[in-house]
Subunit: 313 residues, 2 copies
């Protein structure tokens, strides 16, 4: 008999360039077991993820294991969720890998595949800080910056004509300072990420002070009236705001959610961005800026919900 | 008996700040009669539009007049299409005017009300240069710049939380040069419109050369290797491209359509914008840039289609 995904257990796996996290949760979000492994490169990455899933399933008693109804694995890079294929993931060295069917074979479960940040942004929109709103932009700010856009209650994905070559929501690569900005690893100049990502904030602060602290700690230091930290955070917020101006005018979101690792710096960042957008917007209404509720767990929470609901609706 | 809007005649009216255009068309788009009046201010604008509609209806033979099944009136400013209310139109001096029911009473027809540029952009997407594509951004470039965004086959409108205070698609008011740009009548600095609208291009060219020609003619002159025109158009294209970077990264449109009056300058503008975006984009795929097919008639054509279909689907 097919298990009931709405009431039963799911396996969620978030594959990152550095580490891969997995957990099995029940319908209330209780974590029955969880584990993390380093993510190797190439075929070894596949083996490591497969072993992680099997180990988690083996931790359950047989009757609980039978209740695991579905799994979802989320990946960086370019993903084709309909065909469950990893089209391109630079950190993993994967290109056109049929991921879904391979995990299904090993775990004996239906396995959904999707894009990590898209799933994390969807989770913040549907179940986190954006819940109840139809028009929401989510930025996941960490080592990079990307996110999602929801319009009229639907998640925006790259069009059929562009899928395979694009993920929607690459806000971090909007070149807001293409005349005089810093080079970005993507090959462009002045991308939002070169100013506003966690590492970019940390770098800018270290260049000014010689002190090496994390981006989130720079934001905290700005709160403590460290003038150098203040200048760095102002600059980051300016780049974030500049990157958001286009989507704000195009679709008038009610809410912009800041999630991911840097968001643990809290309301310092949201109030600064709120103030900056209030200064920069005249015709388009100023969206409310809210802090994400799931932090760096948004991907795993989203993957579990995806496994449960079957699609990013 | 209710006339069949899919096969019968419709009345379309495009209310502009300067002139109001009306026409009655059949299902093949043939224009049975058309007229234009100057748009007065305030209550007089309402009377002028009403008289225009009645005059067009009176031009028809009685049997044809009976076949006019529905009308659509499109307006500038802020419009609530569901309640058929003009919320705010600065050029007309209208605020919270119940437009739909008043025209329905006078013309004896069901009358739909909607926003002029939204309808024009929808027309270019659904029936013009964007037809057959689900993810399309349309810019209508004239005295101002605004347009539409379609995502996954649906037109993006301002969210419920923002309607009444916002029209989506105000691309012209994205402040792409807020540090060092020109003041915009909206109160902001460095909006796309201050560089790339028809009048802005004409002004910049006059400032360089003392010659007063239209924005479209400046674009033509750039084609004829006039170096001053070339510099002005390059600058306009740079501002347009900068304004589009956000929406391109957020939703990955396949196609950007340039419509409206300035677009009569033709492929000079589309190829320059295509080249500029190709230079500025690394991660997001470069959308194809196409010329609108309806020019300044996009609004009227869209209003007729809206009257026929009953909604902007």
């Amino acid at each position: 008999m097919l298990a009931d995904v709405t009431t039963d257990l799911v396996l969620a796996v978030d594959v990152g360039g550095g580490t891969t996290k997995g957990e099995i949760t029940d319908a209330d979000g209780n974590v029955l077991c969880a584990d993390t492994v380093e993510t190797p490169y190439g075929e070894a990455a596949f083996e490591a993820i497969e072993t992680l899933g099997l180990r988690l399933l083996d931790e359950l008693t047989p009757d609980l294991r039978d209740r695991v109804a579905r799994a979802a694995v989320i990946l960086p890079g370019l993903v084709d969720p309909d065909r469950a294929i990893a089209l391109f993931a630079a950190n993993l060295g994967w290109r056109n890998v049929k991921v879904g069917s391979r995990f299904t074979d090993r775990w004996g479960l239906p396995v959904l595949i999707d894009h990590d940040v898209t799933v994390a942004g969807w989770a913040e929109w549907r179940y986190g800080a954006g819940r109840g709103h139809d028009d929401v932009c989510v930025l996941i700010i960490g080592t990079g910056i990307s996110g999602t856009l929801s319009v009229g209650g639907r998640l925006v994905r790259a069009s059929a004509g562009q899928s395979g070559v694009a993920q929607a929501g690459e806000y971090g690569h909007i070149p807001v300072r293409y005349r005089d900005g810093l080079p970005c690893p993507c090959g462009n100049v002045g991308c939002v990420e070169t100013v506003a990502s966690g590492p970019a904030i940390a770098r800018a602060y270290a260049a000014r002070t010689g002190r090496e602290i994390s981006g989130a700690d720079v934001v905290f230091a700005a709160l403590d009236t460290d003038p150098e930290a203040h200048a760095v955070v102002d600059d980051a917020v300016d780049a974030l705001a500049a990157g958001l101006l286009g989507v704000v005018h195009a679709s008038c979101p009610e809410l912009i959610v800041l999630g991911g690792g840097l968001a643990r710096a809290g309301t310092v960042l949201t109030s600064a961005l709120q103030a900056r957008l209030t200064t920069l917007l005249r015709v388009a209404p100023v969206p409310r800026i809210a802090l994400g509720e799931f932090g760096i767990r948004a991907g795993l929470i989203g993957a579990a919900q995806l496994a449960r609901t079957g699609s990013l609706r």
